[in-house]
Protein backbone atom coordinates (compact mmCIF):
# COMPACT_ATOMS: atom_id res chain seq x y z
CA UNK A 1 0.00 0.00 0.00
CA UNK A 2 2.86 2.38 0.76
CA UNK A 3 4.30 1.78 -2.68
CA UNK A 4 1.02 2.59 -4.34
CA UNK A 5 0.50 5.83 -2.55
CA UNK A 6 3.81 7.03 -3.98
CA UNK A 7 2.43 6.44 -7.44
CA UNK A 8 -0.65 8.44 -6.67
CA UNK A 9 0.37 11.47 -8.68
CA UNK A 10 2.48 11.52 -11.83
CA UNK A 11 3.37 14.11 -14.41
CA UNK A 12 1.31 12.47 -17.08
CA UNK A 13 -1.79 13.01 -15.06
CA UNK A 14 -1.54 16.59 -16.24
CA UNK A 15 -2.21 15.41 -19.78
CA UNK A 16 -5.38 13.69 -18.69
CA UNK A 17 -6.43 16.93 -17.12
CA UNK A 18 -6.34 18.88 -20.38
CA UNK A 19 -9.20 17.07 -22.15
CA UNK A 20 -11.12 16.92 -18.90
CA UNK A 21 -10.73 20.65 -18.51
CA UNK A 22 -11.94 21.08 -22.09
CA UNK A 23 -14.99 18.98 -21.31
CA UNK A 24 -15.65 20.85 -18.10
CA UNK A 25 -16.10 24.03 -20.12
CA UNK A 26 -18.98 22.70 -22.14
CA UNK A 27 -20.55 20.04 -19.96
CA UNK A 28 -22.99 21.14 -17.24
CA UNK A 29 -21.78 20.62 -13.67
CA UNK A 30 -22.98 17.50 -11.95
CA UNK A 31 -24.02 19.74 -9.10
CA UNK A 32 -26.39 21.63 -11.41
CA UNK A 33 -28.06 18.48 -12.59
CA UNK A 34 -28.59 17.02 -9.19
CA UNK A 35 -29.69 20.27 -7.65
CA UNK A 36 -32.19 20.13 -10.48
CA UNK A 37 -31.52 23.27 -12.47
CA UNK A 38 -29.41 26.14 -11.51
CA UNK A 39 -30.80 29.23 -13.10
CA UNK A 40 -28.02 31.76 -13.09
CA UNK A 41 -25.80 32.41 -16.05
CA UNK A 42 -22.60 30.40 -16.35
CA UNK A 43 -19.34 31.16 -18.07
CA UNK A 44 -19.72 28.16 -20.34
CA UNK A 45 -22.73 29.82 -21.91
CA UNK A 46 -20.33 32.30 -23.49
CA UNK A 47 -18.57 29.39 -25.17
CA UNK A 48 -21.88 28.20 -26.58
CA UNK A 49 -22.43 31.70 -27.92
CA UNK A 50 -18.98 31.74 -29.50
CA UNK A 51 -19.63 28.45 -31.28
CA UNK A 52 -22.97 29.77 -32.46
CA UNK A 53 -21.43 32.89 -33.97
CA UNK A 54 -18.49 31.18 -35.63
CA UNK A 55 -20.17 28.01 -36.86
CA UNK A 56 -21.66 29.32 -40.13
CA UNK A 57 -18.39 31.05 -41.02
CA UNK A 58 -16.32 27.92 -40.51
CA UNK A 59 -18.84 25.65 -42.15
CA UNK A 60 -19.97 27.88 -44.98
CA UNK A 61 -22.29 25.56 -46.81
CA UNK A 62 -25.60 26.89 -48.12
CA UNK A 63 -27.51 23.77 -47.23
CA UNK A 64 -26.14 23.81 -43.70
CA UNK A 65 -27.07 27.46 -43.28
CA UNK A 66 -30.58 26.85 -44.48
CA UNK A 67 -31.03 23.89 -42.15
CA UNK A 68 -29.75 25.88 -39.21
CA UNK A 69 -32.17 28.68 -40.07
CA UNK A 70 -35.04 26.20 -39.98
CA UNK A 71 -33.71 24.64 -36.79
CA UNK A 72 -33.49 28.10 -35.26
CA UNK A 73 -37.11 28.88 -36.11
CA UNK A 74 -38.25 25.55 -34.69
CA UNK A 75 -36.12 26.20 -31.64
CA UNK A 76 -37.91 29.51 -30.97
CA UNK A 77 -41.20 27.67 -31.18
CA UNK A 78 -39.97 24.81 -29.01
CA UNK A 79 -38.53 27.24 -26.47
CA UNK A 80 -41.92 28.87 -26.07
CA UNK A 81 -43.65 25.54 -25.81
CA UNK A 82 -41.08 24.39 -23.29
CA UNK A 83 -42.19 27.16 -20.93
CA UNK A 84 -45.77 25.95 -21.23
CA UNK A 85 -45.10 22.21 -21.35
CA UNK A 86 -41.87 21.76 -19.44
CA UNK A 87 -42.17 24.47 -16.79
CA UNK A 88 -45.87 25.01 -16.22
CA UNK A 89 -46.68 21.35 -16.95
CA UNK A 90 -49.58 22.02 -19.31
CA UNK A 91 -49.98 20.41 -22.70
CA UNK A 92 -50.71 22.08 -26.01
CA UNK A 93 -51.17 20.24 -29.29
CA UNK A 94 -52.20 23.39 -31.10
CA UNK A 95 -49.02 25.40 -31.15
CA UNK A 96 -48.81 25.16 -34.94
CA UNK A 97 -51.87 27.43 -34.97
CA UNK A 98 -50.02 30.22 -33.16
CA UNK A 99 -47.10 29.70 -35.49
CA UNK A 100 -49.58 29.97 -38.36
CA UNK A 101 -51.19 33.09 -36.90
CA UNK A 102 -47.74 34.68 -36.75
CA UNK A 103 -46.92 33.68 -40.32
CA UNK A 104 -50.25 34.88 -41.71
CA UNK A 105 -50.13 38.16 -39.83
CA UNK A 106 -46.75 38.86 -41.40
CA UNK A 107 -47.91 37.68 -44.83
CA UNK A 108 -51.10 39.71 -44.85
CA UNK A 109 -49.62 42.88 -43.37
CA UNK A 110 -46.63 42.96 -45.71
CA UNK A 111 -48.24 41.87 -48.99
CA UNK A 112 -51.66 43.46 -48.69
CA UNK A 113 -51.08 46.50 -46.54
CA UNK A 114 -47.39 47.11 -47.28
CA UNK A 115 -46.49 47.32 -43.61
CA UNK A 116 -42.84 47.91 -42.71
CA UNK A 117 -41.40 44.45 -42.16
CA UNK A 118 -40.10 45.09 -38.65
CA UNK A 119 -43.50 46.31 -37.58
CA UNK A 120 -45.11 43.21 -39.08
CA UNK A 121 -42.64 41.08 -37.15
CA UNK A 122 -43.76 42.57 -33.83
CA UNK A 123 -47.40 42.60 -34.85
CA UNK A 124 -47.22 38.85 -35.47
CA UNK A 125 -46.22 38.16 -31.89
CA UNK A 126 -48.90 40.50 -30.60
CA UNK A 127 -51.62 38.85 -32.70
CA UNK A 128 -50.56 35.36 -31.64
CA UNK A 129 -50.49 36.46 -28.00
CA UNK A 130 -53.91 38.07 -28.30
CA UNK A 131 -55.34 34.91 -29.86
CA UNK A 132 -53.82 32.87 -27.04
CA UNK A 133 -55.33 35.19 -24.46
CA UNK A 134 -58.79 34.86 -25.99
CA UNK A 135 -58.82 31.08 -26.31
CA UNK A 136 -56.77 30.57 -23.14
CA UNK A 137 -59.48 32.06 -20.91
CA UNK A 138 -61.94 29.24 -21.51
CA UNK A 139 -59.73 26.25 -22.37
CA UNK A 140 -57.03 26.59 -19.72
CA UNK A 141 -59.61 25.56 -17.13
CA UNK A 142 -59.18 22.09 -18.58
CA UNK A 143 -56.48 19.71 -17.48
CA UNK A 144 -54.42 16.89 -18.95
CA UNK A 145 -56.03 14.99 -21.80
CA UNK A 146 -58.90 17.44 -22.06
CA UNK A 147 -56.54 20.35 -22.50
CA UNK A 148 -54.64 18.37 -25.13
CA UNK A 149 -57.86 17.72 -27.04
CA UNK A 150 -59.07 21.30 -26.74
CA UNK A 151 -55.79 22.71 -28.08
CA UNK A 152 -55.80 20.10 -30.83
CA UNK A 153 -59.30 21.22 -31.74
CA UNK A 154 -58.16 24.82 -31.79
CA UNK A 155 -55.41 23.92 -34.25
CA UNK A 156 -57.87 22.25 -36.58
CA UNK A 157 -60.32 25.15 -36.36
CA UNK A 158 -57.52 27.52 -37.28
CA UNK A 159 -56.75 25.46 -40.39
CA UNK A 160 -60.39 25.46 -41.45
CA UNK A 161 -60.69 29.21 -40.94
CA UNK A 162 -57.55 29.82 -43.00
CA UNK A 163 -58.78 27.61 -45.83
CA UNK A 164 -62.23 29.17 -45.91
CA UNK A 165 -61.40 32.86 -45.72
CA UNK A 166 -59.91 32.96 -49.20
CA UNK A 167 -60.21 36.70 -49.62
CA UNK A 168 -57.83 37.32 -46.76
CA UNK A 169 -55.55 34.29 -46.61
CA UNK A 170 -55.60 32.96 -50.16
CA UNK A 171 -57.27 29.74 -49.06
CA UNK A 172 -55.48 26.46 -49.72
CA UNK A 173 -52.94 28.08 -52.04
CA UNK A 174 -51.76 30.57 -49.47
CA UNK A 175 -49.89 33.83 -49.85
CA UNK A 176 -46.76 34.31 -51.99
CA UNK A 177 -44.15 36.96 -52.42
CA UNK A 178 -43.57 38.05 -48.84
CA UNK A 179 -40.60 40.46 -48.86
CA UNK A 180 -37.38 39.82 -46.91
CA UNK A 181 -37.26 41.20 -43.43
CA UNK A 182 -35.28 44.42 -43.54
CA UNK A 183 -34.16 46.64 -40.72
CA UNK A 184 -33.29 50.23 -41.69
CA UNK A 185 -32.52 49.29 -45.27
CA UNK A 186 -30.51 46.19 -44.39
CA UNK A 187 -32.36 43.24 -45.81
CA UNK A 188 -31.85 39.65 -44.72
CA UNK A 189 -31.65 38.08 -48.17
CA UNK A 190 -28.96 35.40 -47.91
CA UNK A 191 -28.96 32.23 -45.86
CA UNK A 192 -26.00 33.48 -43.85
CA UNK A 193 -27.77 36.72 -42.90
CA UNK A 194 -30.90 34.76 -42.08
CA UNK A 195 -28.85 32.47 -39.87
CA UNK A 196 -27.72 35.39 -37.76
CA UNK A 197 -31.22 36.83 -37.79
CA UNK A 198 -32.94 33.69 -36.53
CA UNK A 199 -30.32 32.77 -34.01
CA UNK A 200 -30.14 36.36 -32.88
CA UNK A 201 -33.87 36.39 -32.24
CA UNK A 202 -33.54 33.01 -30.55
CA UNK A 203 -30.75 34.33 -28.35
CA UNK A 204 -32.87 37.30 -27.31
CA UNK A 205 -35.85 35.12 -26.49
CA UNK A 206 -33.59 32.62 -24.74
CA UNK A 207 -32.23 35.32 -22.44
CA UNK A 208 -35.77 36.52 -21.87
CA UNK A 209 -37.00 33.09 -20.87
CA UNK A 210 -33.92 32.40 -18.80
CA UNK A 211 -34.62 35.55 -16.80
CA UNK A 212 -38.26 34.64 -16.62
CA UNK A 213 -37.66 31.20 -15.16
CA UNK A 214 -35.31 32.46 -12.49
CA UNK A 215 -37.75 35.15 -11.37
CA UNK A 216 -40.87 34.71 -9.30
CA UNK A 217 -42.88 33.96 -12.43
CA UNK A 218 -40.70 30.98 -13.24
CA UNK A 219 -41.20 29.66 -9.73
CA UNK A 220 -44.92 30.17 -10.11
CA UNK A 221 -44.86 28.14 -13.36
CA UNK A 222 -43.06 25.28 -11.63
CA UNK A 223 -45.35 25.53 -8.63
CA UNK A 224 -48.41 25.19 -10.85
CA UNK A 225 -46.85 22.13 -12.48
CA UNK A 226 -46.01 20.53 -9.12
CA UNK A 227 -49.20 21.10 -7.16
CA UNK A 228 -51.99 23.52 -7.96
CA UNK A 229 -53.40 23.31 -4.43
CA UNK A 230 -50.08 24.19 -2.87
CA UNK A 231 -49.60 26.98 -5.41
CA UNK A 232 -52.96 28.46 -4.46
CA UNK A 233 -52.09 28.13 -0.79
CA UNK A 234 -49.16 30.55 -1.16
CA UNK A 235 -51.29 33.03 -3.04
CA UNK A 236 -50.48 32.17 -6.63
CA UNK A 237 -53.43 32.81 -8.93
CA UNK A 238 -53.18 29.54 -10.85
CA UNK A 239 -55.64 30.47 -13.61
CA UNK A 240 -53.85 33.74 -14.24
CA UNK A 241 -50.41 32.12 -14.30
CA UNK A 242 -51.60 29.54 -16.81
CA UNK A 243 -52.91 32.27 -19.10
CA UNK A 244 -49.68 34.22 -18.74
CA UNK A 245 -47.47 31.32 -19.70
CA UNK A 246 -49.80 30.39 -22.55
CA UNK A 247 -49.69 33.93 -23.91
CA UNK A 248 -45.91 34.13 -23.60
CA UNK A 249 -45.45 30.84 -25.37
CA UNK A 250 -47.87 31.91 -28.12
CA UNK A 251 -45.95 35.15 -28.57
CA UNK A 252 -42.78 33.09 -29.09
CA UNK A 253 -44.66 31.03 -31.66
CA UNK A 254 -45.79 34.26 -33.32
CA UNK A 255 -42.18 35.45 -33.64
CA UNK A 256 -41.19 32.08 -35.08
CA UNK A 257 -44.09 32.12 -37.55
CA UNK A 258 -43.22 35.61 -38.70
CA UNK A 259 -39.58 34.64 -39.30
CA UNK A 260 -40.76 31.56 -41.16
CA UNK A 261 -42.95 33.66 -43.45
CA UNK A 262 -40.12 36.13 -44.15
CA UNK A 263 -37.61 33.41 -44.90
CA UNK A 264 -39.82 31.08 -46.92
CA UNK A 265 -41.61 34.08 -48.48
CA UNK A 266 -44.82 32.06 -48.51
CA UNK A 267 -47.50 31.10 -46.04
CA UNK A 268 -49.85 28.22 -46.78
CA UNK A 269 -52.06 26.14 -44.53
CA UNK A 270 -50.28 22.84 -45.28
CA UNK A 271 -47.41 23.86 -43.01
CA UNK A 272 -49.46 24.42 -39.88
CA UNK A 273 -51.10 21.03 -39.50
CA UNK A 274 -51.40 18.75 -36.50
CA UNK A 275 -48.26 16.95 -37.68
CA UNK A 276 -46.29 20.13 -37.15
CA UNK A 277 -47.72 20.63 -33.66
CA UNK A 278 -46.69 17.14 -32.63
CA UNK A 279 -43.26 17.68 -34.16
CA UNK A 280 -42.76 20.67 -31.87
CA UNK A 281 -43.98 18.74 -28.84
CA UNK A 282 -41.55 15.99 -29.87
CA UNK A 283 -38.68 18.47 -29.99
CA UNK A 284 -39.43 19.61 -26.47
CA UNK A 285 -39.81 16.09 -25.10
CA UNK A 286 -36.77 14.69 -26.88
CA UNK A 287 -34.60 17.63 -25.98
CA UNK A 288 -35.56 17.45 -22.34
CA UNK A 289 -38.50 19.04 -20.59
CA UNK A 290 -37.97 21.64 -17.97
CA UNK A 291 -34.75 22.94 -19.40
CA UNK A 292 -34.17 25.75 -21.85
CA UNK A 293 -31.30 24.17 -23.77
CA UNK A 294 -33.21 20.94 -24.27
CA UNK A 295 -35.76 22.20 -26.80
CA UNK A 296 -33.05 23.99 -28.81
CA UNK A 297 -31.03 20.81 -28.92
CA UNK A 298 -34.13 18.80 -29.80
CA UNK A 299 -35.07 21.07 -32.67
CA UNK A 300 -31.60 20.94 -34.21
CA UNK A 301 -31.59 17.18 -33.89
CA UNK A 302 -35.02 16.65 -35.43
CA UNK A 303 -34.42 19.13 -38.25
CA UNK A 304 -31.29 17.23 -39.21
CA UNK A 305 -32.96 13.89 -38.83
CA UNK A 306 -35.74 14.94 -41.18
CA UNK A 307 -33.24 16.28 -43.68
CA UNK A 308 -31.15 13.13 -43.69
CA UNK A 309 -34.17 10.87 -43.88
CA UNK A 310 -35.55 12.94 -46.78
CA UNK A 311 -33.06 11.10 -48.99
CA UNK A 312 -34.72 7.76 -48.38
CA UNK A 313 -37.96 8.82 -50.03
CA UNK A 314 -40.81 6.52 -49.08
CA UNK A 315 -38.77 4.88 -46.31
CA UNK A 316 -38.23 8.12 -44.48
CA UNK A 317 -41.40 8.10 -42.37
CA UNK A 318 -41.05 4.54 -41.02
CA UNK A 319 -37.38 5.10 -40.20
CA UNK A 320 -38.25 8.41 -38.58
CA UNK A 321 -40.86 6.67 -36.46
CA UNK A 322 -38.50 3.92 -35.37
CA UNK A 323 -35.78 6.42 -34.44
CA UNK A 324 -38.22 8.46 -32.40
CA UNK A 325 -39.43 5.38 -30.55
CA UNK A 326 -35.86 4.28 -29.83
CA UNK A 327 -34.93 7.75 -28.61
CA UNK A 328 -37.92 7.82 -26.31
CA UNK A 329 -37.08 4.39 -24.93
CA UNK A 330 -33.44 5.12 -24.25
CA UNK A 331 -33.70 8.81 -23.40
CA UNK A 332 -37.04 9.12 -21.62
CA UNK A 333 -36.12 12.33 -19.84
CA UNK A 334 -34.67 14.02 -22.88
CA UNK A 335 -31.43 13.59 -24.74
CA UNK A 336 -29.86 16.77 -23.44
CA UNK A 337 -30.41 15.96 -19.79
CA UNK A 338 -29.60 12.28 -20.07
CA UNK A 339 -26.43 12.79 -22.09
CA UNK A 340 -25.27 15.39 -19.61
CA UNK A 341 -25.67 13.03 -16.67
CA UNK A 342 -24.06 10.18 -18.60
CA UNK A 343 -21.04 12.27 -19.56
CA UNK A 344 -20.52 13.43 -16.02
CA UNK A 345 -20.77 9.87 -14.81
CA UNK A 346 -18.18 8.77 -17.35
CA UNK A 347 -15.78 11.55 -16.40
CA UNK A 348 -16.16 10.56 -12.78
CA UNK A 349 -15.67 6.94 -13.73
CA UNK A 350 -12.43 7.55 -15.63
CA UNK A 351 -11.07 9.70 -12.87
CA UNK A 352 -11.68 7.03 -10.27
CA UNK A 353 -10.92 3.99 -12.41
CA UNK A 354 -7.24 3.94 -11.56
CA UNK A 355 -7.86 4.12 -7.85
CA UNK A 356 -10.57 1.52 -8.09
CA UNK A 357 -8.24 -0.85 -9.92
CA UNK A 358 -5.70 -0.44 -7.17
CA UNK A 359 -8.30 -1.38 -4.63
CA UNK A 360 -8.55 2.01 -3.05
CA UNK A 361 -12.32 1.93 -2.90
Amino acid sequence: MVKQSKKEFRKRDFFYLIPLWGLSLIVPDADDLYSYRSKDFKRRELYYLGVLLLLPLIWSDQHFHHLMVLAGIYAILALGLSLFLGYAGQISLGHAAFFGIGAYTTAILTTRYAFPTVLAFWASAVTAAAAAFLIGKPILKLKGYFLALATLGFGEIFLVIVQETQALTGGVIGIFGIPWLSIAGFSFDTYLKQYYLTWGVLLGLFLFSKNLVRSKLGRAFLAVAASEDAAESVGIDVAQIKIKVFVISAAFAGFAGSLFAFIMSTANPGTFSLGFSTLIVMMVILGGMGSLYGPIFGSILLTYLMDILGRYQEWSLPIYGVILILLLIFFPDGIGIRLGIRLIYLIGYWAKKKKRDEGKF
Binding site: Y36, K216, L222, S233, V234, G290
Partner: protein, 256 residues
Protein backbone atom coordinates in the same frame (compact mmCIF):
# COMPACT_ATOMS: atom_id res chain seq x y z
CA UNK B 1 -61.88 40.18 18.59
CA UNK B 2 -60.86 36.72 17.54
CA UNK B 3 -58.63 36.34 14.52
CA UNK B 4 -60.62 33.57 12.90
CA UNK B 5 -64.27 32.90 13.50
CA UNK B 6 -66.08 29.92 12.05
CA UNK B 7 -69.82 30.31 12.34
CA UNK B 8 -72.39 27.55 12.04
CA UNK B 9 -70.64 25.89 9.13
CA UNK B 10 -72.16 22.82 7.46
CA UNK B 11 -70.71 20.60 4.78
CA UNK B 12 -72.42 17.58 3.29
CA UNK B 13 -70.99 14.88 1.06
CA UNK B 14 -73.74 12.94 -0.71
CA UNK B 15 -76.09 13.54 2.18
CA UNK B 16 -73.53 12.63 4.86
CA UNK B 17 -72.93 15.55 7.17
CA UNK B 18 -69.16 15.85 7.40
CA UNK B 19 -69.56 19.04 9.41
CA UNK B 20 -72.75 19.90 11.22
CA UNK B 21 -73.11 23.57 12.22
CA UNK B 22 -69.62 23.83 13.58
CA UNK B 23 -68.62 27.07 15.32
CA UNK B 24 -65.07 27.81 16.41
CA UNK B 25 -62.88 30.73 17.34
CA UNK B 26 -59.15 31.13 17.08
CA UNK B 27 -57.58 33.84 19.23
CA UNK B 28 -54.64 35.96 18.17
CA UNK B 29 -51.10 34.78 18.93
CA UNK B 30 -52.24 31.49 20.38
CA UNK B 31 -52.03 27.87 19.36
CA UNK B 32 -55.39 26.31 18.82
CA UNK B 33 -55.57 22.56 18.47
CA UNK B 34 -58.28 20.65 16.70
CA UNK B 35 -58.44 16.95 17.44
CA UNK B 36 -60.85 14.15 16.91
CA UNK B 37 -61.03 10.53 15.83
CA UNK B 38 -60.76 9.44 12.20
CA UNK B 39 -63.42 10.87 9.95
CA UNK B 40 -64.50 13.49 12.43
CA UNK B 41 -64.30 16.21 9.78
CA UNK B 42 -61.08 17.90 10.86
CA UNK B 43 -59.50 18.08 7.43
CA UNK B 44 -62.80 19.08 5.87
CA UNK B 45 -62.93 22.07 8.16
CA UNK B 46 -59.43 23.05 7.10
CA UNK B 47 -60.30 22.75 3.45
CA UNK B 48 -63.27 25.00 4.04
CA UNK B 49 -61.22 27.63 5.82
CA UNK B 50 -58.62 27.75 3.04
CA UNK B 51 -61.48 27.58 0.53
CA UNK B 52 -60.36 24.47 -1.29
CA UNK B 53 -63.96 23.40 -0.84
CA UNK B 54 -67.18 25.35 -0.49
CA UNK B 55 -69.34 25.10 2.61
CA UNK B 56 -73.04 24.35 2.16
CA UNK B 57 -73.98 26.93 4.74
CA UNK B 58 -72.37 29.05 7.42
CA UNK B 59 -69.80 31.80 7.42
CA UNK B 60 -66.10 32.23 8.08
CA UNK B 61 -64.54 35.50 9.23
CA UNK B 62 -60.87 36.38 9.27
CA UNK B 63 -59.86 39.59 11.02
CA UNK B 64 -63.52 40.54 11.05
CA UNK B 65 -63.83 40.21 7.29
CA UNK B 66 -66.01 37.57 5.72
CA UNK B 67 -63.91 35.20 3.62
CA UNK B 68 -66.51 32.55 2.86
CA UNK B 69 -66.69 33.30 -0.86
CA UNK B 70 -63.08 34.23 -1.67
CA UNK B 71 -60.72 32.24 -3.90
CA UNK B 72 -57.96 30.20 -2.19
CA UNK B 73 -55.24 32.56 -3.42
CA UNK B 74 -57.13 35.58 -2.14
CA UNK B 75 -57.33 33.99 1.28
CA UNK B 76 -53.60 33.42 1.15
CA UNK B 77 -53.17 37.09 0.24
CA UNK B 78 -55.04 38.07 3.40
CA UNK B 79 -52.41 36.32 5.46
CA UNK B 80 -53.52 32.74 5.93
CA UNK B 81 -50.79 30.20 5.27
CA UNK B 82 -51.33 26.47 5.36
CA UNK B 83 -49.62 23.11 5.11
CA UNK B 84 -51.10 19.90 3.79
CA UNK B 85 -51.84 16.54 5.31
CA UNK B 86 -49.90 14.77 2.57
CA UNK B 87 -46.84 16.93 1.99
CA UNK B 88 -47.10 19.10 -1.05
CA UNK B 89 -43.71 20.69 -1.44
CA UNK B 90 -42.73 21.70 -4.95
CA UNK B 91 -40.51 18.73 -5.75
CA UNK B 92 -39.41 20.25 -9.03
CA UNK B 93 -37.64 23.12 -7.28
CA UNK B 94 -34.77 23.45 -4.85
CA UNK B 95 -35.39 23.89 -1.15
CA UNK B 96 -34.64 27.60 -1.21
CA UNK B 97 -36.85 28.14 -4.23
CA UNK B 98 -39.70 26.50 -2.38
CA UNK B 99 -39.37 29.11 0.33
CA UNK B 100 -39.09 31.89 -2.25
CA UNK B 101 -42.28 30.67 -3.90
CA UNK B 102 -43.92 31.41 -0.58
CA UNK B 103 -42.92 35.04 -1.06
CA UNK B 104 -44.83 35.17 -4.32
CA UNK B 105 -47.17 37.92 -3.23
CA UNK B 106 -44.45 40.08 -1.74
CA UNK B 107 -42.12 40.15 -4.74
CA UNK B 108 -42.52 42.53 -7.65
CA UNK B 109 -44.63 41.41 -10.56
CA UNK B 110 -44.31 41.77 -14.33
CA UNK B 111 -43.64 39.51 -17.29
CA UNK B 112 -41.60 42.04 -19.27
CA UNK B 113 -39.63 43.39 -16.34
CA UNK B 114 -38.82 39.87 -15.12
CA UNK B 115 -37.80 38.84 -18.63
CA UNK B 116 -35.48 41.83 -18.96
CA UNK B 117 -34.19 41.28 -15.41
CA UNK B 118 -34.64 44.94 -14.52
CA UNK B 119 -32.94 46.32 -11.41
CA UNK B 120 -35.93 46.14 -9.08
CA UNK B 121 -36.58 42.52 -10.01
CA UNK B 122 -32.92 41.72 -9.45
CA UNK B 123 -32.95 43.48 -6.08
CA UNK B 124 -36.14 41.70 -5.05
CA UNK B 125 -34.68 38.31 -5.94
CA UNK B 126 -31.52 39.06 -3.99
CA UNK B 127 -33.37 40.16 -0.89
CA UNK B 128 -35.79 37.28 -1.26
CA UNK B 129 -32.92 34.81 -1.37
CA UNK B 130 -31.38 36.32 1.74
CA UNK B 131 -34.64 36.19 3.62
CA UNK B 132 -35.35 32.65 2.43
CA UNK B 133 -32.00 31.56 3.79
CA UNK B 134 -32.81 33.14 7.14
CA UNK B 135 -36.07 31.20 7.28
CA UNK B 136 -34.23 27.99 6.37
CA UNK B 137 -31.70 28.73 9.07
CA UNK B 138 -34.46 29.04 11.65
CA UNK B 139 -35.92 25.71 10.55
CA UNK B 140 -32.52 24.02 10.48
CA UNK B 141 -32.66 23.29 6.76
CA UNK B 142 -29.96 25.67 5.61
CA UNK B 143 -27.50 22.84 5.05
CA UNK B 144 -29.54 21.55 2.15
CA UNK B 145 -30.80 24.76 0.60
CA UNK B 146 -29.61 23.82 -2.86
CA UNK B 147 -30.90 20.28 -3.10
CA UNK B 148 -34.20 19.42 -4.79
CA UNK B 149 -37.11 19.48 -2.37
CA UNK B 150 -38.17 16.01 -3.49
CA UNK B 151 -34.93 14.56 -2.09
CA UNK B 152 -35.57 15.64 1.49
CA UNK B 153 -36.86 13.09 3.99
CA UNK B 154 -40.50 13.42 4.97
CA UNK B 155 -39.85 15.20 8.26
CA UNK B 156 -37.76 17.86 6.55
CA UNK B 157 -40.35 18.26 3.82
CA UNK B 158 -42.94 18.96 6.48
CA UNK B 159 -40.69 21.62 7.94
CA UNK B 160 -40.13 23.02 4.47
CA UNK B 161 -43.87 23.32 3.99
CA UNK B 162 -44.11 25.27 7.22
CA UNK B 163 -41.22 27.42 6.03
CA UNK B 164 -43.01 28.09 2.78
CA UNK B 165 -46.09 29.19 4.68
CA UNK B 166 -43.93 31.41 6.92
CA UNK B 167 -42.37 33.09 3.91
CA UNK B 168 -45.78 34.57 3.21
CA UNK B 169 -45.49 36.51 6.50
CA UNK B 170 -48.88 35.17 7.52
CA UNK B 171 -50.91 36.06 10.58
CA UNK B 172 -52.50 32.65 10.78
CA UNK B 173 -50.96 29.34 9.80
CA UNK B 174 -53.12 26.26 9.40
CA UNK B 175 -51.13 23.11 10.08
CA UNK B 176 -52.83 19.98 8.77
CA UNK B 177 -51.50 16.96 10.66
CA UNK B 178 -47.92 18.22 10.96
CA UNK B 179 -46.84 15.19 12.96
CA UNK B 180 -48.14 12.40 10.77
CA UNK B 181 -45.37 10.14 9.56
CA UNK B 182 -42.73 11.69 11.80
CA UNK B 183 -40.40 9.88 14.17
CA UNK B 184 -40.66 10.78 17.87
CA UNK B 185 -37.47 12.87 17.69
CA UNK B 186 -38.70 14.75 14.66
CA UNK B 187 -41.99 15.31 16.44
CA UNK B 188 -40.19 16.76 19.43
CA UNK B 189 -38.26 19.15 17.19
CA UNK B 190 -41.43 20.11 15.42
CA UNK B 191 -43.27 21.02 18.62
CA UNK B 192 -40.33 23.17 19.67
CA UNK B 193 -40.42 25.00 16.35
CA UNK B 194 -44.16 25.49 16.57
CA UNK B 195 -43.87 26.98 20.05
CA UNK B 196 -41.14 29.25 18.71
CA UNK B 197 -43.52 30.48 16.00
CA UNK B 198 -46.08 31.37 18.62
CA UNK B 199 -43.49 33.47 20.39
CA UNK B 200 -42.89 35.27 17.08
CA UNK B 201 -46.52 36.34 17.18
CA UNK B 202 -47.98 33.96 14.64
CA UNK B 203 -51.32 32.37 15.35
CA UNK B 204 -51.44 28.65 14.70
CA UNK B 205 -54.37 26.40 14.12
CA UNK B 206 -53.27 22.78 14.28
CA UNK B 207 -55.27 19.76 13.20
CA UNK B 208 -53.71 16.68 14.66
CA UNK B 209 -54.47 13.06 15.02
CA UNK B 210 -51.66 12.61 17.45
CA UNK B 211 -53.23 13.83 20.66
CA UNK B 212 -50.10 13.90 22.77
CA UNK B 213 -48.42 16.57 20.74
CA UNK B 214 -51.43 18.89 20.57
CA UNK B 215 -52.08 18.61 24.28
CA UNK B 216 -48.50 19.59 24.89
CA UNK B 217 -48.33 22.69 22.71
CA UNK B 218 -51.86 24.03 22.39
CA UNK B 219 -53.34 26.84 24.48
CA UNK B 220 -56.81 25.75 23.62
CA UNK B 221 -58.18 22.57 22.12
CA UNK B 222 -61.42 21.80 20.33
CA UNK B 223 -62.57 18.23 19.85
CA UNK B 224 -64.55 17.27 16.80
CA UNK B 225 -66.53 14.07 16.51
CA UNK B 226 -68.96 13.14 13.75
CA UNK B 227 -68.92 16.68 12.44
CA UNK B 228 -69.74 18.29 15.77
CA UNK B 229 -67.68 20.11 18.35
CA UNK B 230 -68.08 17.99 21.45
CA UNK B 231 -65.66 19.83 23.71
CA UNK B 232 -63.64 23.00 23.77
CA UNK B 233 -61.26 24.41 26.35
CA UNK B 234 -57.78 24.09 27.81
CA UNK B 235 -55.97 20.81 27.15
CA UNK B 236 -56.42 19.66 30.73
CA UNK B 237 -60.15 20.32 30.79
CA UNK B 238 -60.62 18.58 27.44
CA UNK B 239 -58.65 15.56 28.53
CA UNK B 240 -60.97 14.99 31.47
CA UNK B 241 -64.15 15.53 29.48
CA UNK B 242 -66.24 12.36 29.48
CA UNK B 243 -67.54 12.88 25.95
CA UNK B 244 -64.02 13.11 24.62
CA UNK B 245 -62.94 9.96 26.38
CA UNK B 246 -65.97 8.19 25.01
CA UNK B 247 -65.35 9.37 21.45
CA UNK B 248 -61.78 8.22 21.56
CA UNK B 249 -62.51 4.93 23.26
CA UNK B 250 -64.97 4.07 20.53
CA UNK B 251 -62.33 4.54 17.89
CA UNK B 252 -58.62 4.03 18.07
CA UNK B 253 -56.75 3.84 21.34
CA UNK B 254 -54.55 6.86 21.78
CA UNK B 255 -51.47 7.55 23.78
CA UNK B 256 -52.84 10.76 25.25
Amino acid sequence: MSLLIVEEITKKYDGVRALDRVSLKVERAAIKGLIGPNGAGKSTLFHLISRMEKPDSGKIYFKGKEITSLEPNEIAALGVGRTFQTVQTFGNMTVVENIMTGMHLRLKEGVISSGLWLPWIRRGEKEGLKEAKEILDRLGLLGRWKSPASQLPLGKQKLLEIGRALAMKPELVLLDEPASGLTPTEMQQLSERICQLKKDGITLFVVEHHMGMVMEIADEVAVLDHGKVIAEGTPDAVRKDSKVIQAYMRGKRTDA
